[in-house]
Amino acid sequence: MSEKPLNAILQGIANEGIPPEKVDLWPRVRDGMNNRRLVHRKPLSRVTTRVALLVLIMLVLLTISLTLIGPERALAALRGLLGYIPGIGLVNEPGGLRVLAAPVTLERDGITVTIEQALLDSERTVVIYQADGIPADAYPRAEDAPNCYLSPQLRLTDGSVLQIDRGQGGGWASGYESRLVYPPVPRELNEAIFFIPCLNDTSPGAAPENWELALRFVPAPPDVTVVPVFEVSASPEATVGPDEERAMGLYLERVIELEDSYILAGTFRQGGELPGSMVMGISAWPEITDADGRSLPFKTPSDLDLGSEEMGVFPWSYQIPKGFTAPITVTLEAVDVEFLAEATFQFDTGADPEVGQEWALNQEFSIAGHTVRLVSAVRMENGYEFRFESDPSVSMVSVRDSEFEPISGSGGGYLGEFTVGFTYSPPVPTGLLTYQITGLIARHPGPWTLTWEPPEGGEPAPTLAVQQPCLTLERWLQLIENPAPQLVDLKGKLIAYGRIQDDGQRLSPTNAGIFVVNLEDGSRQVLGPGTWPSLSPDGARAAYGWSDGLHIVDLDTGENRLLPGTTDFDYNPRWSPDGLQLAFVRIDDLNLYLVNADGSSMQRVTVGPEYEQLIGWLPEGQTLAYVFPGPEGLQLRFMDLTTGVQRDGFVIDAKGANATISPDGQMIAFIERVPGGMEYGLYVSRLDGSERSLIAQPEHWGISDPVWSPDGVWLIVGVSDANLLKPEVTPALINLDTCEVIPLEGIEGYVQGWSR
């Protein structure tokens, strides 16, 4: 579809729906601000929504750091050096740290609030608190319903009140945990009230409010251990680049050595280069490699509270597992830079221009070494749009109309081709119009590199296993371009969603549906239209979703029946291991349900506002695995259906549930974002996230729908071409023991299940 006309149509729709001249949000926003100020709250951030596991992991790390890290490192911090406590962050206290004398707990109406930790130094106060037991009906169901956004305060004994500087946290169905950072508490004050006006995100009046917990602070005991932070400039062991302090580039400033990893922290600095321009940010993730050329995985720690008010300075921090071959190199390919410009162009609209009228302008400008061509101007409904072309590193120019003040501006496009538009309050100006080009945004190439070698003398770490996945794009392309005979002996049945009509057309919903493949004789059984198919464990029946509800079809007789009570809102049915029940997702209320295979005894098994997405059953037949989204990704959770007890797995860094439990219930295969990038890979790990292996990573190609073989030896995953002109998908069969990869060329579609 032509983009420009669609833009004009969308603009027209928006203008018709809400005429620009009638938009006046300021009174509403002002009233909203004033309402918030009535509760004496500064316009500071509220702790965002939550995932418990992240913080719990932090607490575990904190415990580990307090107990396992050698006392010599602890003493370093207590003597006044800059230190780091995982989960707490950086600490710096020449006179010694203070901590909470003891955890403080308060219970009201079945809800428990606990202050787990507090740590005070001369620069800030960190408080970690937890609320649990919050009933589901305390949370608003509607997105626009009012909820609590007020952050807790620290009320000091001298009458002053500290508001949070920043916060983070995670949550679960019945509670949350937050790490809040406040300004420092004066050294002479050792008591405070932690005041919680309302519990995060709860509806007004739906849960106890105005909590007050009395805190007492004491000097940190000698056994509180803190990991030292090495300031690189004072650390001769580290090598820093680039050499010139004012040069544009990556600067390493701090190094923290943890038990199994290093945290490198520093800044990207524009320095004195590119005068008259401003670096706007780092354009992409860096690549971190070791001396063997291996690309190292890394994480970005969230508790370092990095920030910079300095123009052209962008903090970064990367946590890298030990076991690499030193030195390591951090490489940054490009940054986006805005260059200032002073150029003017004019065009004459005539006295009465028509909407859609276009003027060819063809004017060239040279800005900061880039050539930008103003191609044309178009009269829009309430303004004008200018089309530019440039060399492929330019993404935008800033244009200003200082004569007639537009009510809004817009811009967009690709590198090398973009538009700038203005909307005016009627009447739209006409005649000879003058515009100024005030800036140009371009991708400024590096690369900038930084090399670092850990100090000698530390404990040698086991070699980091940077695993080469079984399936890479290079290998996959070789396999599908040169298909080899399939020599493996596979057994059982596959169920898939894919081509069911050989109509000579490209695969599409009109020729796709559900089919079963018998692996022993290669025969296919087409079941017809449907989605989300699932095979019963004995391979005798299939369940699937369709527009009238969930269906079950007997593969021998072809008998097809609609499960009573199911609707269009139900999908993703998964058979229980005994074949007697189906679990499924009902998106009408975003919960998981159970129903007997005969349609009886339908019951809801989850409650609350989270959007649970079903993974499947554990083989013991009484536990469901599912995920729900949180700020850090998808929280894996297990629910015992007989007791209702829930336990958390790990957090999957993905937006959509794409996971499956192994037949023995010990492992999980899941699609997750590859660390340090935007693309996704197929991983296998234990249910707690340990022993993680990267199995497939076809770069920018799509990968989805992992399925285990009944014996747990093979995985099937759908691999799809990123090329829009080749939307086909080919299932990949991967042997987890041998790393053998076989394209299942005969199956055009997505395999959804494999039964004996």
């Binding site: 669609l6 969308l10 729906g17 938009v23 601000m33 500087d165 919903p509 939307p727």
Partner: protein, 203 residues
């Protein structure tokens, strides 16, 4: 007042800074919300909440960066959430969440050469938009209304690039189908026949 000056004022707690920011961006913000949620009143509520949220988080905003993408990211995400909560197209949306790449199965037709901005086409596009999922609408709005690149959308929505490209492809295909574009010997035509529905159902 320059935008950077307004942001500085807001960071200092001065509402004059917020007023300037609201007046600069309110049309884009409310239009973005409107195209995603399809309801004027809800769009205005979302826009108001987005500005309040931006004010609340202004200390997280890094000086020197453009403010517009930041506020549009906030309003886009809030509009998606509001649509989900309003239960619009949830079946499609949830299905998409669970296996987005399955919809690569959608057919790729040649693009129509021209789609003129007329009242009739606006009505048809509007109706077609309402049949997309909230996230598909958001991707369409981000790409074609806000002019963002697919990679930028990928970053803002925190979705893989392939997923965004698929969403664009699927949304365009869906729009094209509903609007009645047919591929006839490589040429395109615009038909006003009754909308064709996606045979893929929930998937």
């Amino acid at each position: 007042m320059e935008e950077g000056q307004a942001i500085t004022l807001l960071k200092q707690g001065d509402l004059a800074g917020l007023e300037e920011i609201v007046r600069r961006h309110q049309v884009d913000v409310v239009h973005t919300a409107y195209l995603i949620v399809g309801d004027r009143s809800m769009a205005e509520d979302i826009a108001q909440a987005s500005f309040l949220k931006a004010a609340e988080r202004i200390h997280q905003f890094k000086d020197g960066r453009p403010f517009r993408p930041w506020i549009l990211r906030i309003v886009t995400n809030d509009a998606i959430k509001a649509s989900l909560r309003a239960r619009k197209n949830l079946s499609l949306d949830a299905a998409q969440e669970l296996s987005e790449s399955l919809a690569w199965l959608r057919e790729t037709n040649p693009s129509p050469e021209e789609l003129v901005d007329t009242a009739e086409n606006r009505r048809m596009v509007w109706e077609a938009l309402q049949q997309l999922t909230a996230k598909q609408r958001a991707v369409v709005v981000m790409r074609y209304f806000l002019g963002m690149k697919a990679r930028e959308i990928s970053k803002e929505l925190d979705r893989p690039l392939s997923s965004v490209k698929w969403s664009l492809h699927a949304a365009k295909e869906h729009l094209r189908s509903i609007l009645g574009f047919e591929d006839v010997s490589g040429s395109t035509s615009l038909s006003k026949d009754s909308p064709k529905r996606d045979a893929g159902g929930k998937r």
